[in-house]
């Protein structure tokens, strides 16, 4: 028998990836490698059960032998030389993973979160709003984005485009929910950071540019304990948020209130200082900054390159909006034409209306559906009197006496482009028409401007000697993962790297840069850190089609149109608390609970499988079974590795789990398709602990696990301790979140229980936080137990025990120690009895 053989095992040596590894005869290569701390990729392997070799990810090659061997079943032999990592093995494993993933019908990340450039935990904060907890919602948002009130007003909301609720009725109004959470929490006076500010690191960082990228970077660097100075060329901080987005969309007051938190964290600001004019990279480093972040934005205008563009009355949207925001008196005349289809174009047109224009027309090359501005913005503009001239290609600008008088265009038609690109507008000959205009605003996009113009000469911000390289598009060159420039101390992000993009992309870049700069300042490997912070996410097929009750999206309350267009009062009013909760409750919470501990996801990320070429097959499996109080089963995530079946048979001997289907359609369920309760299941959760994916999960922990937990495993502390039930002394790992035990597992590699637990150990822990817990000492007064202070209670106990000891002798006192208390507790109790009271009458019930 195996145990007898184990008693006679001999020590031998094998070689794994060139390293000598000690092994026992009878061991497998997997066992020997793991014991030596060498990891071999695996899904179905679990040291507690007989190896199954079903996932085939643990393949290795053996010197002098052909083909692959599965390490979990390959016995060691003296002198054997094993390779666990090679291009050939990687390729084979990659293919295996792709096949496994081809019908693993589940998301890793919810589509909204995946669609967000900043990967915000959207189901997390939407769920918090649905519970009425704006403070928690804001805390979740601020983990990745410091300005929920700003983004809640101006974000282009890419998340909503992919919201799965949109397949049923309408996408969840995610952005407005974010705005509500921010405004609601601010109104209640909550402005705490998402996690406590770290102790001062002694490091200093200079941030060039006080736009969304720079300010976000400054915020997270300050939270991590670094001293940050932001340098800004314009008089006030905010960048495009302050100078390009109109007041009616983003009130200055809101921006300034959200910026307060930076100054509270000790971020310093110098305005009126420009890169290349007042400071340069070398100068900053000489001034003692340890690192620099450049978030210089995109302040150059694209031009239409058509005749007449130089005429008076033709203005760039950025100049136009900046002058209005800066309070300059701007006369636009009666008729304004805006060229472009983005947010800026819509902003310019609506601003023109507010400046007294009688007509404002947006001219756009494609059709309405292709407009980059958000649908709601376009609708609001139309309500305010803005008209659209679609499918129009500007051809020339007419003018008299050097002043523009109109824009002439050709009608266009859309021609399909290559896949994935927007259709291309093509001018139709002979269709010219002209729009009369006093002012023509060109809003066709911006680009970074990395130079000053001085007397017609360009002076570069980043001369070659600075060592920061730029691209041929005039952007700063960075490593796309680390955001580090060619000069290691200098990082860059936002529009100056990407070209003009969205606020949320700039914020995401600022936050990622802060993480990476922090790693850089700590002397860590920046590439490794960046990979940890932003793993490439696998995206898989969705087959969930729960029947839903159609619930309309809550409309955004608006300032009535009669009032709105005379001044710059904010137009969108935001949700009431009731509307916010109703809207948040529409969220389908498309999350995978196993996200953080799914081995399949971890390997998919490691092997860079962000898309799946075999995707598309659907296995005919039942949806899920969430009827059991402790074990949640989601068959779509099952990869049929069989580990659960094996552990149930071999360790628990309950045979509650069995394979169903067959061939490619195999999945794991209960024998004869029954419910778990109808089998011999003892609810120990061993199957859950063996499952490499989210197919099996702890239902109670799922409920206990507050939604915001997802994506931030670092917020959960894991504490190894010993179980409070029977005498086996299993090692428990308590997962603690915000002072509460939310889950129990067994992670300690030295544990007497080797990772196994029973139903009580794994699921019997919510007594810890039960409302019945005694929280105050009680003393009986007039027959009733009433709460008292500790002083009073101890005094009462001390006085009574002393009285009885003195009157009747120590032997009149007895004590019960406890088989559930610690050694230290018990030692002191018997010492109290024997040395202070003078009685040997101490015993305990549990030994019975």
């Amino acid at each position: 028998m195996a145990e007898a053989a184990a008693r006679e095992a001999e020590r031998i040596e094998i070689t794994v990836d060139g390293t000598p590894v000690a092994a026992w005869t009878g061991q497998t290569v997997m066992e020997a490698a793991l014991a030596a701390g060498i990891e071999i990729p695996r899904l179905c392997y679990d040291g507690r059960i007989e190896p199954r070799a079903s996932c085939r990810l643990c393949i290795v090659t053996v010197e002098g032998e052909r083909g692959f061997h599965t390490a979990c079943t390959l016995p060691v032999a003296a002198g054997m030389s094993v390779t666990t990592d090679s291009d050939e093995l990687k390729q084979a494993r990659r293919l295996t993973l792709e096949l496994i993933l081809s019908d693993h019908n589940a998301y890793c990340l919810p589509p909204c979160q995946n669609g967000c450039p900043d990967k915000l935990d959207i189901p997390g904060y939407v769920g918090a709003v649905a519970r009425g907890d704006s403070r928690e919602a804001v805390r979740i948002i601020k983990q990745r984005l410091p300005f929920p009130r700003v983004l809640g007003r101006v974000c282009p909301r890419p998340c909503e485009n992919v919201c799965r609720r949109g397949n049923h009725d309408a996408p969840v109004s995610i952005c407005t929910i974010k705005r509500f959470a921010g405004d609601d929490a601010a109104a209640a006076g909550y402005d705490e950071p998402p996690f406590p500010q770290a102790e001062p690191s002694g490091k200093r960082v200079a941030v060039g540019g006080a736009g969304p990228a720079g300010l976000t970077c400054a915020y997270y660097l300050a939270l991590k304990g670094h001293q940050v100075t932001v340098l800004e060329a314009l008089p006030e901080p905010g960048g495009m948020l302050r100078y390009a987005i109109p007041e009616y969309r983003l009130p200055t007051r809101v921006l300034e209130e959200e910026l307060e938190q930076l100054w509270d964290l000790g971020v310093e600001l110098e305005t009126g200082v420009a890169m290349g004019r007042d400071f340069d990279i070398d100068g900053l480093l000489e001034r003692g900054y340890d690192a620099v972040f450049l978030g210089l934005g995109a302040h150059g205008d694209h031009q239409m390159m058509i005749p007449g563009e130089e005429l008076e009355g033709v203005v760039s949207s950025v100049d136009f909006l900046r002058r209005v925001r800066a309070g300059e008196k701007v006369d636009v005349g009666k008729r304004v034409v805006v060229v472009g289809g983005g947010f800026t174009a819509v902003d310019a047109a609506r601003t023109a209306i507010r400046l007294g224009a009688e007509e404002a027309t947006i001219v756009y090359r494609r059709s309405r559906a292709e407009m980059p501005a958000h649908e709601s913005e376009v609708e609001e503009a139309e309500t305010e009197g803005v008209s659209l001239q679609l499918l129009a290609i500007p051809e020339r600008i007419e003018g008299i006496d050097g002043r523009a008088t109109g824009l002439c265009c050709l009608q266009a038609e859309l021609v399909a482009s290559e896949e994935g690109r927007r259709p291309r507008p093509v001018a139709i000959e002979g269709t010219e028409f002209c729009l009369p205009a006093d002012t023509i605003v060109v809003a066709i996009g911006q680009k970074p401007k990395l130079y000053h113009e001085e007397g017609g000469k360009r002076r570069l911000f980043l001369p070659e000697k600075d060592g920061v390289r730029t691209t041929r598009w005039g952007t700063i060159e960075v490593d796309p993962q680390t955001l580090q420039t060619a000069r290691p101390q200098v990082f860059a992000g936002g529009d100056v790297v990407s070209g003009a993009a969205t606020v949320i992309e700039a914020v995401a870049a600022g936050r990622r840069a802060a993480d990476n700069i922090d790693a850089y300042l700590a002397g860590d490997d920046v590439v490794a850190a960046a990979r940890k912070f932003t793993p490439a996410e696998p995206v898989y097929l969705d087959i969930k089609q729960e029947p839903l009750v159609e619930t309309p999206r809550q409309p955004m309350p608006m300032l009535c149109p009669e009032k709105c267009c005379n001044d710059f009062t904010e137009v969108e009013l935001g949700y009431s608390p009731e509307a916010a909760r109703r809207e948040a409750a529409r969220c389908m919470q498309c999350i995978c609970e196993a996200e953080q501990n799914c081995d399949l996801r971890r390997l998919a990320i490691e092997y860079g499988l962000t898309e799946n070429r075999f995707q598309g097959r659907m296995r005919p499996v039942p949806r899920l079974d969430d009827t059991n109080p402790v074990i949640h089963r989601d068959y779509r995530k099952c990869i049929a590795c069989g580990a659960c079946e094996a552990i149930c048979d071999e360790l628990v001997a309950a045979r509650a789990v069995s394979l169903a289907g067959g061939g490619m359609d195999t999945y794991v369920t209960c024998a004869y398709g029954r419910g778990l309760e109808e089998t011999d299941c003892v609810f120990c959760g061993q199957c859950v602990s063996a499952c490499p994916t989210g197919a099996l999960d702890n239902r109670m922990s799922m409920k206990q696990r507050p939604l915001p937990l997802r994506g931030r495993p670092e917020e959960v502390q894991e504490v190894d301790t010993v179980c409070c039930y029977c005498g086996v002394g299993c090692s428990l790992t308590l997962h603690v979140y915000q002072g509460r035990v939310i889950e129990v597992s067994s992670q300690n590699p030295y544990a007497v229980n080797e990772g196994s637990l029973c139903v009580k150990g794994r699921y019997g822990f919510d007594f810890i936080h039960h409302p019945d817990r005694l929280k105050q000492p009680l003393v009986r007064r007039d027959g009733e137990l009433v709460p008292v202070s500790w002083e009073e209670a101890l005094e009462e106990v001390g006085a009574n025990l002393e009285r009885i000891r003195d009157e009747h002798g120590g032997r009149a006192v007895g004590a019960l120690a406890s088989g559930r208390c610690t050694n230290e507790d018990n030692y002191l109790l018997q010492k109290l009895m024997r040395s202070v009271i003078g009685s040997n009458s101490v015993d305990h019930c549990a030994r019975l």
């Binding site: 088989g819 559930r820 230290e824 018997q830």
Partner: protein, 525 residues
């Protein structure tokens, strides 16, 4: 346990006695399942057809309380057939002749009649146990909770010694402790007659050593055991009790008697995490901390001292228990300066030789099995490898004594109290854990379908079970696992407290009461 949990599965045969392992120690059951699949043989001695009884090679379903007769008969077979380990007996034990003679007093036929087990089955079990290489004995409360529990354990020790089944891997006498730190509580002197480290209070030298360390004097007379304290409370001899983390109202025999005893005290202080049935009777209730809220150590059934790490804060003003006890001592004029459990363990290390090398920093990698006399000592996985602590192992002649209270015409059933898988002890923790409570929301009385049919009881029928001391009502569960003539009820449930029925008759030596056998009558409610 003389041996270790990991070591158990290296046995060639395991004798499992009075242990419903899948219910009370499920993680050990998992190990045994793996070993069974790999070819280990299993003998189960239990009146109930437990899960392991069904998986066993031999199941001896003895009449409750007849363990000594059965073990004696098995030993007689072993000696008669020459299966004993003569060299072990000669080198390591004393008293063999006396034991052998005592075995002759009971024939196999007589034993078969007493135990209700066929002679052939007794012989087969004896041969399997003694003739199969390494043999380990594992037992639990089904062996100890009897008025003759000490005799049962001595008989087990006799069987282990005459077959040489001790001191080697895959052997041993291995009790499974019922609660997380019963072992440690005993180690620390939570016993009426033993000081920390199992030194008798009657041992003058030991008393002096402890008194010197603690100050004051230690009473040389043993104190009262739990059941004696309850009695003495009833008579007024005991005036005050300090109960920490125990709920005798549900865990001790004859609950009505426990209640009147506790109510008769002049002063009762209870320290617990919930207002238990016992705490509700107290004059002062002190809010303690759960295992998740304190630091310290637990010692498991294989003597492994393991570190308990605080994970969360206690609620409200609740405090760790060591701190409360310290403060009570100081309120009585002591000057205890312990600042942490570590300070306490450092004192234990000085006074308890088995714990001499137990330093907190050493416990992070899976703990240490005592005896561990010094910091350089790795701990002890298997006891009695070279010799017994007292030198030679004492083989003791033991006489069979029937249970204290046996069925009669008025109370025709044997009542057996035990445990459910989903709940623990008096249920104060598990019944407040939602999922466990959902899985098993309340008590069920197990009764054999044949008995049930005679009484007109069906699955789910409310039945009343009455003993000379009290009566409970609960729904019946018809199951073959309970033999005819007996009923079984877990003691976790206050609404049908098994200990309202049980007998306070106790073992004369260790004072453990007979919770496993008493006489009851069963009726439809």
């Amino acid at each position: 346990m003389t041996n270790s949990i990991a070591d158990l599965v290296t046995a060639d045969v395991v004798l499992l006695m009075g242990s419903n392992t899948t219910t009370a120690h499920p993680v050990i059951a998992m190990r045994l399942n793996q070993a069974l699949a790999a070819g280990m043989k299993l003998i189960v001695i239990d009146p109930r057809a437990t899960t392991f009884a069904r998986r066993a090679d031999i199941h001896l379903a003895l009449n409750p309380g007849t363990d000594v007769a059965l073990l004696k008969a098995m030993m007689r077979v072993i000696v008669e057939e020459g299966l004993e380990d003569s060299s072990f007996i000669e080198m390591r034990t004393e008293g063999y002749e006396e034991l052998r003679r005592s075995l002759e007093e009971l024939s196999i036929g007589q034993a078969a009649a007493i135990t209700g087990i066929a002679e052939e089955d007794i012989r087969a079990a004896a041969r399997l146990f003694a003739g199969s290489g390494r043999s380990a004995i594992v037992y639990c409360l089904g062996v100890t909770q009897h008025a003759h529990g000490t005799d049962n354990v001595r008989s087990i020790a006799n069987l282990a010694m005459i077959t040489g089944s001790i001191g080697l891997p895959g052997t041993g006498v291995n009790p499974l402790r019922g609660a997380n730190n019963v072992q440690g509580c005993c180690d620390m002197g939570g016993l009426y007659n033993l000081l920390p480290g199992y030194k008798s209070v009657e041992d003058g030298e030991a008393r002096e050593r402890f008194a010197a360390a603690w100050g004051g004097e230690i009473d040389p007379r043993p104190g009262l055991s739990v059941t004696e304290m309850i009695e003495a409370a009833g008579t007024g001899e005991l005036k005050a009790m300090y109960i920490m983390g125990e709920n005798p109202m549900l865990s001790d025999p004859d609950a009505a008697h426990v209640k009147s005893g506790l109510e008769n005290l002049d002063f009762l202080v209870v320290q617990d995490i919930f207002l238990t049935e016992t705490a509700a009777l107290a004059d002062v209730v002190l809010p303690g901390a759960t295992f998740a809220e304190k630091n310290g150590t637990f010692t498991n059934t294989e003597r492994r001292v393991q570190r308990v790490h605080k994970a969360v804060e206690p609620p409200g003003e609740a405090r760790p228990d060591w701190r409360i006890v310290r403060d009570v001592a100081n309120a009585m004029g002591a000057d205890w300066q312990y600042q942490s459990p570590k300070d306490v363990m450092n004192e234990v290390r000085q006074l308890v030789p088995q714990y001499g090398g137990i330093r907190y920093a050493r416990l992070e990698k899976g703990g240490i099995q005592w005896p561990c006399p010094a910091e350089s000592h790795p701990g002890t996985a298997i006891l009695h490898q070279e010799e017994f602590i007292c030198g030679r192992g004492k083989l003791a002649a033991v006489d069979f004594i029937p249970a204290d209270e046996l069925p009669d015409d008025e109370y025709p059933f044997i009542f057996n109290a035990g445990r459910d898988l989903m709940h623990f002890h008096t249920g104060s923790m598990t019944r407040r854990s939602r999922s466990l409570d959902q899985l098993v929301p309340g008590p069920l009385v197990d009764i054999n379908p044949a008995d049930a049919a005679k009484l007109g009881i069906e699955d789910g029928t409310r039945i009343t079970v009455t003993s000379r001391r009290g009566s409970i009502t609960a729904a019946a569960r018809l199951t073959d696992s309970t033999p005819r003539g007996s009923v079984f009820l877990p003691f976790h449930y206050a609404e049908a407290a098994a200990n309202l029925l049980t007998n306070t008759a106790r073992d004369p030596i260790c004072k453990i009461p007979e919770l496993k056998v008493c006489a009851v009558r069963v009726e439809k409610a």
